[in-house]
């Protein structure tokens, strides 16, 4: 029965194809409900976009599960449809989510805005893609998102300006406080990390990240770290050069597990961060603040301050 009906459908498709179907015309994606349809490739940008858009914007995040590794995500037909129907697409770029560009170019839509974090903050492919771990870049993205909302929906510009002020002063208040506090109390403290994801945050917090950058990059990209780098890290832990070890619990290779265990054994406080929102229902700032608080506690323990 199923195959008969589908068969009939496919037959009609054949007819439509040979008749030179008019489906090629660029579809202008008009929102069904009146809200601005926005797609974010990952939920960290989606959460920010959603809070800025309030009731006037409908944000869909493609990668929204802590169980999904954004590095090797394969899009589904549903993702392609979501992106095809959006008036604005937010992607990270810097080689982090190349599938978004593929889906965009396969489905041209006139007037669609594509906001790429990497292009906005000026990081080239091959650079550190984890821009949402840089408070400065997060602020740049907030500005850009609101600007694009204004372009797509000029009549609600005042509303978006209000949303932005509220998000910056209330929503992000705790996140900003924690960053300022850690920077004030622990700047210059030497730390180690499993992955380049922590590098932008370490820089913002003025912590001294001792782990070799080549190791951070290798783990982030899923390639094998060198023996020399592993030896350096082992020494840093054995000599207690680092006061805190930060690891990405969503990308924990056997190497990372081994180092994390070694750090624990040497009494170095360990704290974890994640690639995407944990839990998936958390807001960007709740998730980041939770991690920052754990980091502050680990720093307090590690330095004795």
């Amino acid at each position: 029965m199923v195959s008969v009906r589908l068969g009939a459908g496919v037959l009609a498709a054949i007819v439509a194809l040979s008749a030179g179907c008019g489906g090629r015309s660029k579809s202008s994606a008009a929102p069904a409900s009146g809200a601005l349809q926005v797609v974010a490739a990952e939920n960290f940008w989606g959460s920010i976009a959603s809070q800025l858009g309030g009731s006037r914007v409908q944000v869909t995040s493609v990668i929204a599960s802590p169980a999904t590794d954004p590095h090797d995500y394969e899009p589904t037909a549903a993702d392609a449809r979501t992106i095809a129907g959006a008036r604005m697409v937010i992607e990270n770029g810097i080689g982090y989510d190349p599938w978004v560009q593929k889906l965009i170019s396969a489905n041209p839509v006139s007037g669609r805005i594509v906001l790429t974090a990497g292009d906005l903050v000026g990081i080239k492919p091959g650079g550190n893609p984890h821009r949402w771990y840089s408070p400065t870049d997060v602020q740049l993205m907030i500005d850009a998102i609101v600007q694009d909302y204004d372009k797509l929906d000029p009549k609600d510009a005042d509303y978006y300006a209000q949303q932005k002020t509220r998000f910056e002063t209330k929503g992000l208040a705790r996140y900003k406080q924690l960053i300022a506090r850690i920077k004030r109390e622990y700047h210059g403290v030497q730390v180690g990390a499993s992955e380049s994801i922590f590098a932008p945050l370490a820089q913002a917090l003025e912590l001294k990240l001792l782990t070799p950058p080549t190791f951070l990059k290798a783990i982030s990209e899923g390639t094998d770290p060198t023996a020399a780098d592993k030896t350096t890290i082992d020494h840093q832990i054995a000599d207690k050069q680092i006061k805190v070890w930060v690891f990405n619990s969503q990308n924990s290779t056997p190497d990372v597990k081994r180092i994390t265990d070694a750090a624990r054994k040497h009494g170095i406080p360990v704290t974890s961060i994640t690639e995407t929102l944990v839990p998936a229902s958390a807001s960007f700032q709740a998730w980041q603040s939770h991690q920052l608080q754990a980091l502050a506690a680990a720093l307090a323990q590690g330095t004795g301050r």
Binding site: S3, R5, L6, G7, A8, G9, V10, A12, A13, I14, A16, L17, C21, G23, R24, S25, K26, S27, S28, A29, A30, A32, H71, D72, Y73, E74, P75, T76, A77, A78, D79, A80, R81, A84, G85, G95, Y96, D97, P98, W99, K102, L103, S105, A106, N107, P108, P125, G126, K217, E221, G222, T223
Partner: protein, 299 residues
């Protein structure tokens, strides 16, 4: 057409579903690309099965994988890697076939080439610093992300290849079935074999872009093998092979569009299913013939 841009899921109404299937340009591109690839695979596959070059075809498909990986590494369009590597692969295979060794030595040489291709593919994947996104789709296919430009390239290559095969169809068939007689009749058998391998390389490069490198056979071999089961007549066989390839491609794309599972799975399963049905059908038919004949003899 805003109302068409809203996806509602499978409605079981053929007209509505058809409308949904064509609602997005990306899907129109996918159906067009699938159609082009199916026609080319159906035609070349039929000759490949006839010439017993299935193993060579498989090797070309494995060569497509390092091609795609190398293109990703160099930042080139994937099509460049597919066509480039499959072209060189076809030349290498033609060299192996042209050296006129025994069949077993030939297949051993082709097998070694295949292992080298896989190893190279893995090397390129490891060399690709940054994340080689979509490794799964390189191997097992995807229909998402096909641009209009890609469709044009597919059409140009497939058009040229199918025209070449059509022009050479008669001598190629002759050279494939009775090489010695054909040679005596003045058909350049070696040149035919060489030319066909090049066309086969192009066909594999095209098919890989939809089914992925490992599932090329779903379109290149299975429909052609099914057609050979059904009829020995060349023209009818080629038409059947193309029709089957088209049917499994369209059905596979439609199923993948309405579900969350990959297109490669559907196309491969449908094409395998049709082959099994035909084999079983033929076996049953033969048994019925046999019992009828036995009954006749008894009477």
């Amino acid at each position: 057409m805003p109302e068409a841009a809203v996806f509602q899921g499978l409605s079981w109404n053929p007209l509505t579903d058809m409308h949904q299937l064509f609602a997005y340009p990306f899907m129109v591109n996918a159906l067009e690309a699938g159609t082009i690839v199916a026609v080319m695979a159906g035609v070349t596959g039929w000759f490949m099965v006839l010439r017993r070059q299935t193993f060579a075809g498989h090797t070309l498909s494995v060569i497509a994988f390092p091609g795609a990986a190398a293109a990703s590494l160099a930042g080139l369009p994937l099509a460049v890697g597919y066509f480039g590597f499959c072209g060189f692969g076809a030349l290498a295979l033609a060299g192996i076939a042209g050296s006129r060794r025994s069949l077993s030595a030939e297949s051993a040489a082709i097998g070694s080439l295949q292992a080298l291709a896989l190893a190279l593919g893995f090397l390129f994947v490891s060399l690709y610093h940054g994340i080689l996104n979509g490794l799964d789709s390189l191997l097992f296919g995807t229909f998402l992300g096909i641009t209009t430009e890609q469709v044009v390239v597919l059409l140009a290559v497939a058009g040229a290849a199918v025209v070449l095969v059509a022009i050479a169809a008669r001598p190629l068939f002759f050279a494939s079935v009775h090489p010695d007689v054909a040679r005596a009749g003045g058909v350049p058998v070696a040149a035919m074999g060489f030319g066909f391998l090049l066309v086969l390389g192009l066909a594999v490069a095209e098919t890989s872009q939809i089914t992925g490198a490992l599932l090329v056979f779903a379109l290149l071999v299975t429909p052609a093998a099914t057609a050979h089961q059904l009829t020995a007549r060349p023209v009818l066989g080629i038409v059947l092979s193309v029709a089957l390839a088209l049917a499994v491609t369209w059905l596979g794309l439609a199923l993948a569009y309405f579900s969350i599972y990959p297109v490669g799975f559907y196309v491969t399963s449908l094409s395998f299913g049709s082959y099994v049905v035909v084999r079983v059908g033929r076996a049953l038919g033969r048994r019925r013939q046999l019992t009828a004949r036995l009954a006749l003899e008894a009477a």
